[in-house]
Symmetry: C2
Subunit: 157 residues, 2 copies
DNA sequence: CTCGTTGGTTCAATGATTGAACTATAATAA
DNA sequence: TTATTATAGTTCAATCATTGAACCAACGAG
């Protein structure tokens, strides 16, 4: 597919990948811990980890030898994905919150405040909303699968 | 599952839902247009749309009668998801870009600038990074499926 | 020399997804 | 009148992904 979203989803667009990235970020980095934490079946975990490695989001490293044991780490691309996942978590928190309250809270080291992640425009610093953004086709925009109708419509608008 | 991310993913955590939300946002709102644009099979589109309606992300509205024809619209929850999807698109653009360049560009109506969506801390306005955030369990944090190990680890840290 | 720990693999059963063909309603054109 | 087109789906068989449970292998500790 042509669009950045679809290509992003090709890398991490299944049910488990975002949860795996979150767990690795939070320090749950070993096979058996991931199985226990997420309740994912072991063979699927193997496949998902391999796919994420292929896609450059995580890497597998030995943390000891004799016997060799491995853990999984986020790559730069993986770490770069973490804020996006936090924004999604925040959305989940707003629209699908359990009665007990937020299961997770974020604190920003830099400023020391507890905060809720927000997607903003870096030019003016304001939070963006669906009705304050105009989307237009870029140099790579084409009418392929995933943007057949969208590409036409963006060009018209 | 307990965590906000997992509950968010329960609402839109499959391959097609983010693409559907994006298309609805961009004005591709009709069944046949969605099929054409995304190349999704028709029966699956039916099921995904129904699921998104059940989950409160979109709604189905007649846009004409004789014959009655329907289109799909984002609800408030759906519109609130759009910035998150833009952030994910931006990530896809950074890490899985095609040689042709960005397929899509965003302009902020409010300030008039072309921009790349960024996830920030609203307290200090800075972009957040995986290493400048501390995650801690909130009032609803519990050691259930999806946070078995994570909950323990967060409490310790 | 057996047990526990870690990091997997294998396999059968189930569920999701695909692709193609088909249906229904009404407006419009010949 | 009848044929055609547009929209919004449904149905069905085949394939693919996911689940759950059991099994395997390397090594260290008791």
């Amino acid at each position: 597919m042509q669009c950045s979203l679809a290509r992003g989803l090709e890398l991490i667009g299944d049910w488990w990948s975002p949860l795996l990235v979150r767990d690795l970020y939070l320090g749950v980095t070993r096979f058996d811990d991931l199985v226990e934490d997420l309740g994912i079946s072991r063979n699927l975990l193997t496949r998902r980890l391999q796919a994420l490695i292929r896609n450059g989001v995580i890497e597998r490293m030995a943390y000891q030898s004799r016997p060799t044991r491995y853990e999984y780490r986020l790559t730069e691309a993986g770490r770069d994905l973490v804020p996006v996942i936090m924004a999604l978590t925040e959305w989940g928190d707003r629209w699908a919150q359990p009665k007990e309250g937020s299961p997770i809270l974020f604190t920003h080291k830099t400023c020391g405040h507890r905060f809720r992640p927000q997607v903003t425009c870096p030019e003016c610093g304001e939070a963006i909303r669906s009705d304050t953004v105009i989307a237009r086709p870029g140099p790579g925009g084409a009418a392929k699968r995933g943007t057949m109708v969208v590409a036409k419509r963006l060009r018209r608008a």
